[in-house]
């Protein structure tokens, strides 16, 4: 087969694969590229800008690859082969200069974005931030609202356009908390507290998940973040307060026992300083419980 035909066939084949994949995703939510939160939108911008910048170095490389492979093939009658020919060694300046230039620009952008999008950094907003404490358990997420003195399992309700300040810890192997449409991941670890600041730009329900392996219940650690108006949030918080189940230390230790695929649960009040005592458990030297 002539190399030209080969090239055409390949182009068609790979385009078909690409179109097929696009068609497969037509009804799906490509969460990372479809942000609904302040942070996720900025992170998408970082992703897109970086990729476009890199194409500056990658496109010439791939073009030359196929061009040279075609032009300098042994079977080409126009081949002007010379075994001792070598490109001018000053070409090295270009070969080093091009990737260095691209990477330097990327490095500056990265330095800026990593500071701007530091998960610990409080967000600027006229609205007062809401604090939610997150405890990664085997295998469910416990969310404590210290100001409202309520708690939930595998469900978060938040007011939209309000900064949410998450404090995370774990009472189980380390885990990662992720709501892709609102922003990036953050670790939750025993005896430690990490922070994550997110904000939903619009109302909606967003999927959240656990992304660090932590045992057999990993896949079932999904939760939903519901963003709605401040009024909705207030009335929701009130309804939770009026429900019957409080989260005492006793209920907590029962909850902390391993269980899989937990449904959403609501708690009308929370033992005071529960988050801190969960964290301090590992500071005082109490051994980890066996399963």
């Amino acid at each position: 087969m002539k190399p030209k035909y080969k090239f055409v066939i390949l182009t068609i084949l790979f385009s078909l694969i690409a179109f097929f994949l696009l068609w497969l995703t037509k009804n799906s939510n490509i969460a990372v590229l479809n942000p609904k939160g302040l942070i996720a939108a900025s992170e998408r911008r970082v992703i897109v800008t970086s990729l476009l910048l890199m194409l500056l170095a990658v496109v010439p490389a791939l073009t030359m690859l196929f061009l040279f492979a075609y032009r300098f093939r042994a079977s080409n009658p126009k081949n002007n082969y010379n075994p001792n020919y070598s490109l001018d060694s000053r070409m090295q300046i270009l070969w080093w200069g091009l990737p260095i230039a691209v990477i330097l620009v990327l490095a500056v952008l990265t330095f800026k974005s990593v500071h701007q999008l530091d998960p610990f950094k409080a967000l600027n907003s006229p609205n007062r931030p809401l604090t939610i404490q997150v405890v990664a358990l085997n295998w469910k997420w416990l969310f404590i609202y210290p100001e409202q003195n309520i708690a939930t399992v595998n469900f978060i309700q938040i007011p939209q356009k309000t900064p949410i300040h998450f404090e995370l810890t774990a009472d189980a192997p380390m885990n990662l908390f992720w709501v892709p449409q609102l922003g990036g991941q953050m670790s939750a670890m025993q005896g430690m507290s990490t922070q994550l600041n997110l904000m939903a730009n619009e109302a909606g329900e967003y999927n959240g998940s656990a992304s660090e392996i932590n045992g057999k219940g990993l896949a079932g650690m999904r939760f939903v973040v519901k963003a709605a108006s401040q009024e909705d949030f207030n009335s929701w918080a009130q309804s939770v307060k009026n429900s019957s189940k409080p989260l005492s230390l006793e209920t907590y230790s029962k909850l902390a026992e391993p269980s899989e695929n937990n449904p959403k649960a609501l708690y009308s009040s929370v033992e005071s300083d529960l988050f801190k005592s969960v964290m301090m458990k590992y500071m005082s030297g109490e051994p980890e419980k066996s399963e």
Binding site: E43, L51, Y85, P173, G184, L218
Partner: protein, 660 residues
Amino acid sequence: MSIFFGNLSLSALPHEWFTIGGTVSMILMGLGVAAFLTYTKRWKWLWTEWLTACDPKKIGIMYILVASVMLFRGALDAAMIWLQQSLSVGASHGYLDAGHFQQIFTAHGDIMVFFVTMGFLFGLINLIVPLQIGARDLAFPFLNSLGFWLYLAGAILINLFFVFGGEFAATGWLSLPPLSELAYSPGVGVDYWVWSLQVSGIGTLIGGINFIVTILKMRAPGMTLLKMPMFTWTSLISMILVVCVFPILTVTITLLWLDRYFGMHFFTSSFGGNPMMYVNLIWMWGHPEVYILILPAFGIYSEVVATFSQKKLFGYVSMVIAALLVAGLAVLVWLHHFFTMGAGADVNAFFGITTMFIAIPTGVQIYNWLSTMYRGKITFSQPMHWFLGYVATFTFGGMAGVLMASPAADYQLHNSLFLVAHFHTMVIGGALFGIFAGITYWFPKVTGFKLNERLGKLAFWFWIVGFFVSFVPLYILGFMGATRRLDHYDASLGWQPLFITAGVGLVIISFGVALQVWQIVMSFISRKQNLDITGDPWNGRTLEWSTPSPPPAYNFAIIPTVTDRDAFWEMKQRINTDTETDKHGYTDIHMPKNTGMGIYLAGFVFIFGFAMVWHIVWLAIVSLIGCVVCIIIRSLDDEVEYTLPAAEVEKMEKLKTGYL
């Protein structure tokens, strides 16, 4: 716990379908090999010619054979992972429970990294580096044999859970604590993980030391460092990395073992332990490990591009600097594996930007290869196909890598299937394609006959198409928020079609693998027609092509004197004016004697590992004593070499020339 059997009891014997399956297939494989050997009366031949061999060419072949078997084992795991992820949606929970699923992907990762890619690379380095530097042997032939047997002992240990225990680690390939601590993983799975990695890791370290000394001390006269072939250079750099970072792995795993066996608290969350320390340590080894895998592949591509373009490699010095820079940066970037662990913005920025810097020397290498192709006379033999496939896949994988080096982007991509797709692109597109390029390139040299080109190229097309069909869906799934290691997901997410597509890709790839097996069988059957008589089938440039195919045990009857970079190419240019080989006569050649001590020693280490997994104290002590006794016996043995007299060498050489 009994004194005699430790924790081992009857309940540890296989009783589930997959452990029974694994055990039965291992027994059947063993019986099949044994029956074949008995039928063809080859037991003695196997022992004297192969198992006790200290010849790196034979050890190299054994490495590649073991790695190939492990590749099938790892690929079977991959198929099981994909099947589960394609089936387990919504109401259906697939055919595996979460525990088994997690053991499978843990084993898949460890096997593919430690026993497939590392095995293939050590095999190729064993086969080719001594030939490329004009050496007759390695600096420490016995250590090389021991390194191989320790690697095999590790490979058997990682599969032994099928027979005893029925449980492998379900903790991910790096077994991060606290999950891997006794509190959360009380079974023997993590212990098998600890000891198989420990044993094979020591084998790797021994091999690394051996090759550094060999390359630095045993090059042919005239071959200065800057006249070494690129594959030798990148192997040297890769082995230096091995020696730098494998001790970290050994120590880290030892500390985890102390936690698990003696209740210590290095990595527990309480009593002052710190799991984050383990994460740092394991990635201080783990990230350079990736470059240990990829650097020799870079060297292979350099050889392949120069040979098949029939031109000198462009920018040799620049390539060497680039490879050194890659290795230097490799040890400075480990934190990029856990940007999400709450480090400050400055720390994340430092590690993110140093990671991006790696793209510079990597990019330079690609541009230099392209410059080598410029005005060349390119023949598209199989190795060149693999090279083109590598550039096409690796550049995308590299883009994904640089993207994730930006912490702000990584917060969204970490531990998603995007990451999984990225590192598979790097290891398959980079290292594995490089291994295939190396195997197809050097196959005639090692075996004496050429591989069927048509089948090989067909296999390549199945691989490359299958690769994209498999892994592009994973990149997309990552953007959809799919995290890695999920044994089940909701139907409403719309992920299933993409998982199924990825599975279709795996089927396409397996056609490629089948064609590769078929290619080797067919080439073997028709080897008489495809003999490599000249020893130089590709018009090669480096010294290995100056030897006959396959080379004699002593590689070079007369050690060549090197004056130029592409030593053999330059010799060929001068062949009529200067017949330097005739100036020297033959001399006596000292060769290492075969020894079974590597097997005995590794056997005791294997038993020690097994005893440790099951807490059989007396057996551990006995096997440890056995190890020490073996080392003493070997150390006191003065007659480890034999001499091949000059007359004998001359006779063998004449015979060969006459035969040709």
